[in-house]
Amino acid sequence: MVLLQISEPGQSPQPHQRKHAVGIDLGTTNSLVALVRSGMPETLADQEGHHLMPSIVHYTDEGASAVGYEAAEFNISDPLNTISSAKRLLGRGVSDVMKLGDQLPYEFQGEEAGMPKIKTASGLVSPIQVSAEILRNLVTRAEASLDAMLDGAVITVPAYFDEAQRQATKDAATLAGIKVLRLLSEPTAAAIAYGLDEAKEGVIAIYDLGGGTFDISVLRLSRGVFEVLATGGDSALGGDDFDYAIAQWLCAEIGMGDSLNPMEQRILLETAKAAKEELTESDEVQLEVLDWKGALSREIMDTLIEDLVAKTVRACRRALRDAGVNVGEIDNVVLVGGSTRTPLVRKQVANYFEVEPMCSLDPDCVVAMGAAVQADVLVGNKSGDEMLLLDVIPLSLGIETMGGLIEKIIHRNTTIPVAKAQEFTTYIDGQTAMAIHVLQGERELVDDCRSLARFELRGIPPMVAGAAKIRVTYQVDADGLLNVTARELTSNVESRIEVKPSYGLAEDEITQMLQDSFSYAREDMQARALREQQVEADRMIEDLEAAINKDAEALLSDEEIQCLKIGIEELQQLRIDTLEHRVLARQIEALGKLSESFAARRMDASIKNALAGQSLDDIERS
């Protein structure tokens, strides 16, 4: 017997036509799945009643043997085959992963264009495969809950995830056999869960304090589009640090030394965690650890975690500054992550932002719930006037032009999906191929941005420099994935590439790239100007040499030729020596003046040639 859900008036689905879509919060520590039932988003529990599923997969020689809580049990007995925090590795390159090496106990093997793999009992496993196991498990849970197959899912990713990390997330879903309706940024999902997308305008801060990570995002909602103004945070700060601070206090109270055995450490941490959770509701908690009895008040706990909370507030301040927004402009603050249940956190957040934070929904579930709402709209269970949310790209996408410069084709914070085209041309006579270098970043020079892909357009018909018209189109789909097409317009030769970079950027690297683009703005401008003059100098030297070879003997005296040749040499030397674009520009101008009369004489000569043998009447008539 099929079980029914309540529909909106007039929208009862036809039998067997019901569409099922879920929202999935694929987290570093825990993952969740949610769906909309009778118009209400709710997270789904497993058989044991757990909503959260630890993002952990255990491998044996027979493959992935356990996922979630079952896998977590192997954490201590079989750490090398029990993979957690795979999200930190998604879309990263081998070198990025090596930097994380200290934090992660696994053995890595890099190969296949930079994709890192983890050595396990069942062979090499990629972070994408680990994530796919987690997703598959959640989908199985959802399908059991719906008693039906899924039509698709919305999966959330951190706002700072770049192309490679988004693509890796999508690949994991594909591997798990899930149709991805949309990748949605986590802060945006949290805002949707609170229905903030129904307002037309507003600035929203999303304060996300999980077990081991802290993220702050500032979003601007305008005309139904969430724009990410800034992201910040600390990838090694979370509720676990609160536990640790309390455990240290316990240790001191009990009078235990520094050298605790692992067993004692665990007992202290577990007691600390339980005390922290109890102090969310009560003002004081009685504790019994080993032989010690005592009490911990909320007041004391607050002093223990004060510095940690202050650290998050400082990160908020930085994020607001990056976003160029004053505290007073923030309309809403949304709390996400289990650690925002801590009263001191709520208090400090309210103090800093000067608004009461939104916390009526379970902070662990908010992101998945928002994703479920979006999934329900995308799969077509809502009427057409429901707003479709749009996302923006985090960093500008550009193309390399002459001289190692970047021409931005799609600017950062452009809403997606988007397609933009720009026309380029050939640089040399008879050029039949053009290299297209796709880059991401805010800086002016290729070396300072991130290379995403390179490809070549071949088969351009030979023409004089500047005659070919090559239209390069950048298209970013709704998930933030990029397609680049290059087409020569007279011959219609075309070449395209789907950008699927093999490694990704860390959050702090993106932040760094953005900051660099501001702090190096002046240098970048100078560098761009210099490169432009260098390209100009090269062009002038090339043209002038060609002209001398062709016409100098007929039109110039030896002395004049010599004079021009010296001018060319001087410019060549200066092109190499100087870093001052103005100096180079002056020299180019000087050589231009020097060759003016030569150019004039060439012009006269070619006109004379053209007119020779024609009567004046013919010319006037034509």
Partner: protein
């Protein structure tokens, strides 16, 4: 002619109405479609129509148009959990036959 609802169903309808923050009740109905002739309708009601029958259970209103009531007379609306799956179930004594999944039926 009458229909009833269990307290589990009442509880869930009330919860969903509160969350939706508008609507006067829930409409039960029948329409002709599907592989076996008829299928159920379960929708929120913003305005009851003229001729609708309204059954009230502890302030939760069930709204039914007179034609559907012919097919639904004696039905009990329940809310059930089957493993991880949960939702509303129509216990309709008029049903003679239904398709394998129970999404459509005939009387």
């Amino acid at each position: 002619m009458a229909i009833t609802m269990t307290s589990a169903a009442q509880q869930h309808v009330r919860k969903h109405l509160e969350h939706r923050a508008k609507g006067v009740g829930v409409r039960l109905g029948v329409r002709t479609t599907g592989c076996s002739g008829l299928s159920y309708v379960l929708e929120f009601v913003d305005d009851a129509l003229a001729g609708d029958e309204v059954f009230e259970f502890d302030e939760v209103k069930l709204v039914i148009d007179p034609k559907s009531l012919l097919y639904l007379d004696g039905t009990e609306l329940d809310y059930v959990k089957e493993g991880l799956n949960e939702g509303f179930e129509f216990r309709n004594p008029n049903v003679k036959d239904e398709c394998g999944c129970g999404e459509s039926f005939h009387v």
